[in-house]
Symmetry: C2
Subunit: 174 residues, 2 copies
DNA sequence: CCACTAAAGTTGAACTGTCAACTATTGAAC
DNA sequence: GTTCAATAGTTGACAGTTCAACTTTAGTGG
């Protein structure tokens, strides 16, 4: 007990360098993609993510809870976001027949068109800033590493494993 | 021009899988670290980052602009954040002598104590969720990949290269 | 059928970050 | 030395997120 304060497994010099590089790279990539997307289309990252999830779902619709978990979002956050989408005419809510507590978030044609217009640009940016700078080997390695990390995070106590697995095993791309 | 709409270099199936895994892993890791840190110490991720940058700087102080760029933050955001820190007694502002427009953000003893208490837990979590699940080879590979990506992002038109490089070459760990 | 717990979703308040406008000071041109 | 653009930093309004409280409906056990 007395040594507990020194039991911390501090990071080595190399580990610190990796951790810093990880933070810088992931933060800059996220910021860059978000800025470009927003500048070109007015969509935020999370807007885009929500529209993608809806567009890939059967009937371009999803229950609120399902959409929330697939987009790693809280119910509250989603509810507010869908309200904003409704105001812009991109999504409409529909009463769920089976479960009268439930609501569908339905992507409108207009919403789909917005996503369709944004997608090429966003994909191009992902390619340019993530895939182009890396060799095929590195891409494969990165994929393996990320899957390992995600699996580990899902398995850890406190994580919402069900949510995360649903995300991982989400619908196949169009 | 007519084919421009098809000139988009869409992602292959494998690339999509890597991209999804990347998003899930990075988002889950960030969320997990932020939640744990906040639950245990009441600090947000960006709170922690600011305190770390101050603690590692000479005299535990930094000019506002320098602190903003090292923490990948805007001046405005930083100004608000420092005001909140001041209210909690963790940081104080000091007038800069050389440049009377300028202000120092100075970490107080109380602020340093907060960071000192939080650091072991946070480092332990970084180790547990990032380093432990990976082999030494994978860690090295991840480091190389992140440095490549960060370098690339710094060199691209539109990026704030100066800011990012300063971050990369930031002060050596204590 | 009744009670009770859980789940689906919404809402409003508080908080954080962003944006544009603003003040004050510096450095440079002339 | 005056003018002017650039830099340092702050501020207030606004937008998105979180949190806790709430309503409504489902399921479950007696």
């Amino acid at each position: 007990m007395a040594e507990q304060q020194d039991a911390t497994r501090w990071l080595t010099r190399d580990e610190q360098a990796v951790w810093r590089a990880y933070l810088v790279a992931t933060n800059m990539l996220a910021a860059r993609l978000a800025d470009d997307l927003e500048a070109a289309t007015g969509l935020t990252n999370s807007d885009y993510e929500l529209l993608v999830q809806l567009s890939e779902s059967e009937g371009r619709r999803l229950r609120m809870t399902a959409l929330a978990s697939r987009s790693l979002s809280s119910k509250s956050r989603l509810s507010h976001a869908v309200s904003r989408f409704e105001a812009r005419g991109w999504v409409r809510r529909e009463q769920c027949e089976d479960d009268r507590r439930g609501a569908w978030a339905v992507l409108t044609d207009e919403g789909f068109a917005v996503l369709e217009a944004a997608a090429p640009l966003h994909v191009e940016n992902v390619r340019r800033h993530l895939f182009d700078p890396l060799s095929a080997t590195e891409v494969a390695e990165l994929g393996r590493i990320c899957r390992t990390l995600a699996d580990h995070l899902c398995g850890v106590e406190g994580a919402d494993a069900e949510t995360a697995l649903r995300v991982m095993g989400g619908p196949a791309p169009a």
